[in-house]
Symmetry: C2
Subunit: 196 residues, 2 copies
């Protein structure tokens, strides 16, 4: 009741949205992916570094290359998803900083000259953007199924390069039959929020 | 046009929402914080681990303890925010897992017996939840101002403990005069999304 966001949108993005484990075969189009990106790209990151990169796996051939790297329990759902997104952090994001932060182009060299600093910053900010992306998939009326159970180094070698660190894999599509388990409980407010 | 989320909600959460640098003195209430948490708690995490913890800094005394740990450029905006939230990852989240994942209580010992594994998982999933939280602050009609420019170890020692790793600090309130810079550019779809 204290929220400005209307209840239907609350349901769509959080209350009714669930991590889907099965999908229909209705395709997820490039137009939908563009609409999702055009929304969530505005989410804030430190120094506007925007380190998230998205690698789409759609064709049967690409899918076959991905499945062996997943935990066994994750293979069937990824095999059934019409679109799969590998989310990664670009550890060389600083190359784009002069364009992304035109009022402070020195940030590239002042703060991000060292690779370990970039890796830490990219990991945090790309995960933050992954949160926006999952909300964005739901904003498109689609179900997202994020997973971290996969051979990260195997996926990096198969689909990415030394400059990209995989964060998670997200199955995307319309939920199919028996798409979810009962909702698991969440922590109470007092277990999460405190005041000093 | 491909999104199910209505355009007013798109504007509220992403298109018109901005990182505020000044705030009015209108208080942010506990009721608002509870409404935000009750919405964003549903966002998915791996094994439903829910590792994000939120430490609210509101009183003048608590504020005085926080300001010296911030980068100089961040002090004025945090001093002007009616509420400040320190977001951290709970590296001992596994203690709650049997309650959070009642259908698979063995996960606590099977996957999270080792602290470094927990730290990695908590860092990723708490950052993901930080993304949901920023969206939730905006859903309440408030502006969020996330910052990573602070002495993380200093903030940990002042407000947290050895089991919590600070991720970011978020200023929360109604935007004040000249609250934001012009919006910085974002990457094009083709710079972020590729298909294999």
């Amino acid at each position: 009741m204290s929220l400005a966001l209307d209840p239907a949108a609350q349901d769509l993005l959080f209350r009714e949205a669930r991590t889907a484990n099965t999908f229909t075969d209705e395709p997820v189009t490039d137009e939908q992916m563009r609409a999702i990106y055009d929304l969530v790209k505005y989410g804030p990151t430190a120094f506007n570094q925007c380190p998230l990169r998205i690698t789409l796996v759609r064709s049967p051939e690409a899918r076959e290359r991905l499945l062996p790297h997943l935990s066994e329990g994750n293979r069937a759902k990824t095999a059934s998803a019409p679109l799969v997104a590998i989310l990664s952090a670009d550890n060389e994001f600083h190359e784009e900083l002069p364009a992304l932060l035109p009022h402070f182009p020195q940030a590239k060299d002042l703060f991000f000259a060292e690779r370990p600093v970039r890796e830490n910053s990219a990991a945090l900010n790309a995960a933050l953007q992954a949160g926006y992306f999952i909300v964005g998939v739901r904003a498109a009326g689609l179900a997202a199924g994020p997973m971290t159970g996969f051979d990260h180094e195997g996926v990096r070698k198969e689909f990415l390069d030394d400059d990209h660190t995989p964060l998670m894999i997200v199955n995307i599509g319309r939920p199919g039959p028996d798409a979810w388990f009962p909702r698991s409980p969440r922590l109470e407010y007092e277990q999460v929020v405190s005041e000093v």
